[in-house]
Symmetry: C2
Subunit: 240 residues, 2 copies
DNA sequence: AAGTGGTCTAGACCACTGA
DNA sequence: CAGTGGTCTAGACCACTTG
C-alpha cells in the first residue's frame, strides 16, 4: 500500500492513523466483522513504524471500534448501543441539602436484607432532603452497619456523599457500587416529606456499596420527584 | 531503585507493573493526588525498557486509576464513584415480544417535540409489549420520522430493536443515544395494557437517537412495570 | 511456511515543568 | 538547567492461525 496521508497538521502520526480508520468505520466503509488492514500494510501506508501504527490501533480498541485476534488480524467490533453511562449526582448541583436526622436504630427487614446483617446488629441511619429553591426534589436515606462503641461523628456524616462515607472505611479505590432503579408510589410519609400527593409516582434509586471482599458496607435509597429530579444517560461513539 | 519483582508467572512485564501499582492504589498506600514513581525509576525497579513501563502506566490510565501530566509526572486519579454503567435491554432475555401495531400517523405534541419535526410531517409508530410468561412487564413505543412515499416494511420493523432500526439509516457506529429515566403513574390506557391498576408507579425510559450530525432519527418510550422490569447499573474499580 | 498480532528493547528527539 | 512525560524508530523474538 502506498502512503495516503501526510502529517501536515502537527498531529502525532498515530492520531492520523486513528482518524483515518475511524472515518472508515463511522462512514460505513468498514462494518462490524470486517477485517482491517494488517499492521504491516498500515506501516507502509503511513510510512510509520510498527509500534506507532499499533499505538493508533490500541486507541481505536479503547474507544470500542475494533478488537484484535492474535494470528488473525484486527476486526471492526459490534457496536454496543445498549450500554449507557449515567452520572448520578446524589446532591444535585445548585441544590440545597437539608439534613434531617442521624441516628442509631434497629433496621427494618428491607435494610437488614440489603446490608446482609446478622440478627441483632444495629445500623446508622442518615436522612436528608434535597431541594432546589423552595421545591423539595428528593428524599435520601443511607444505612451503614453500626459497630458497637463506634463514635458517631455527626459533623462528618451530615453533608458527606455516599462514596466519601465508604472511603473512610476502605481505600478510595477499594469498593464498588451496584445501583437499582425502580418506581414507587408515594405513601403518606413520603408524600408529606416531598410535599406531593399520595400515590405520586416516584423514581427510586437504590445503591449497594461493597468493599473489595464484596462485603456490603452501605445501602442507600433515594426517592426522586419527577420532573424535578430525573436521570440522564448516554451511549454512543462519534468520538474525535 | 532496586528491582523488587521477578516475572515468575509468565505474565508480560508490563502486566507486572500494572499489578504492582494497582495494588498500591487499591491498598491505599497511594491515594488520590499522590504522585507515582517516575517512568525512569520504574524502569530501574523492574529492569524493563521505558516503553514497557509506559505500556503498564497506559493500562492504569485506561482503567481510571491514574493520569499523567507532561513535565510533571503521573498522579493517582480522583475515583469516580458517580459514574454508572447500565445495560438497557429493550427486550429482556427470556421474554416474549408481542407486536401490537405499526402505523403511519400524525405525532402528538410530545413526539413532535422529541423528534424536532416540521409542522406537517408524519411519523411511523411501532408499538409492542414485552412479557415474561403470562405477565406483561413493559409497553414499548417507538417513533421514526416518515419520509413521504417511503415503503413501510413491517416484517423488518416488527421485531427489530431500536439500534438496528437506526443503523439501517446510517452506519452502525454513526449515531448515539440519549436516555432519560423518569417515573409516571399509569393512566387508564396504560393500566389496561399492562394489566395493572390505574395509578401504579411505572418506570419510564425515553430514548433519543441522533445521527452524527445530531439530527434526531428516532424517539422511543418504554413503560416498565416494577418489580418485573427494573434497571441495574454498576460503578467501580477492583479490576484485575 | 508465511502472515498475523503480542511483547520487548535501546536509543533518539521533543515539549513541558520547576528550581 | 535537570527531570519529567510524549512521540517515534528499527529491529528482535515469540505465539498464534491458516493454507
Amino acid at each position: 500500500m502506498k502512503r495516503v496521508l501526510k502529517n501536515q497538521t502537527g498531529q502525532p502520526v498515530y492520531a492520523v492513523v486513528v482518524s483515518y480508520l475511524r472515518a472508515l468505520i463511522v462512514g460505513g466503509e468498514l462494518n462490524p466483522g470486517d477485517m482491517l488492514p494488517s499492521e504491516n500494510s498500515l506501516v507502509s501506508k503511513f510510512e510509520a513504524s510498527r509500534e506507532t501504527v499499533r499505538k493508533g490501533l490500541k486507541q481505536l480498541d479503547i474507544e470500542g471500534y475494533i478488537y484484535s485476534q492474535q494470528g488473525k488480524g484486527y476486526f471492526v467490533s459490534q457496536p454496543k448501543h445498549d450500554n449507557f453511562l449515567f452520572q448520578f449526582d446524589e446532591n444535585l448541583e445548585n441544590a440545597n441539602v437539608n439534613f434531617k436526622k442521624i441516628q442509631i436504630c434497629n433496621p427494618d427487614s428491607e435494610v437488614k436484607a440489603a446490608l446482609k446483617l446478622a440478627q441483632k446488629k444495629k445500623v446508622i441511619e442518615i436522612v436528608k432532603t434535597i431541594s432546589i429553591g423552595a421545591v423539595i426534589v428528593a428524599y435520601d436515606l443511607k444505612y451503614l452497619p453500626y459497630d458497637k462503641g463506634q463514635p458517631l461523628i455527626e459533623a462528618e456524616l451530615q453533608y458527606a456523599v455516599f462514596p466519601q462515607i465508604a472511603a473512610a472505611k476502605t481505600a478510595p479505590f477499594a469498593f464498588s457500587t451496584k445501583m437499582e432503579i425502580t418506581a414507587e408510589s408515594a405513601n403518606q410519609e413520603l408524600a408529606t416529606t416531598l410535599k406531593c400527593e399520595v400515590g405520586t409516582a416516584l423514581l427510586v434509586v437504590k445503591r449497594y456499596l461493597s468493599d473489595k471482599d464484596c462485603e456490603i458496607i452501605g445501602y442507600g435509597k433515594q426517592y426522586m420527584l419527577p420532573p424535578f429530579k430525573e436521570l440522564e444517560g448516554y451511549s454512543g461513539y462519534l468520538n474525535g
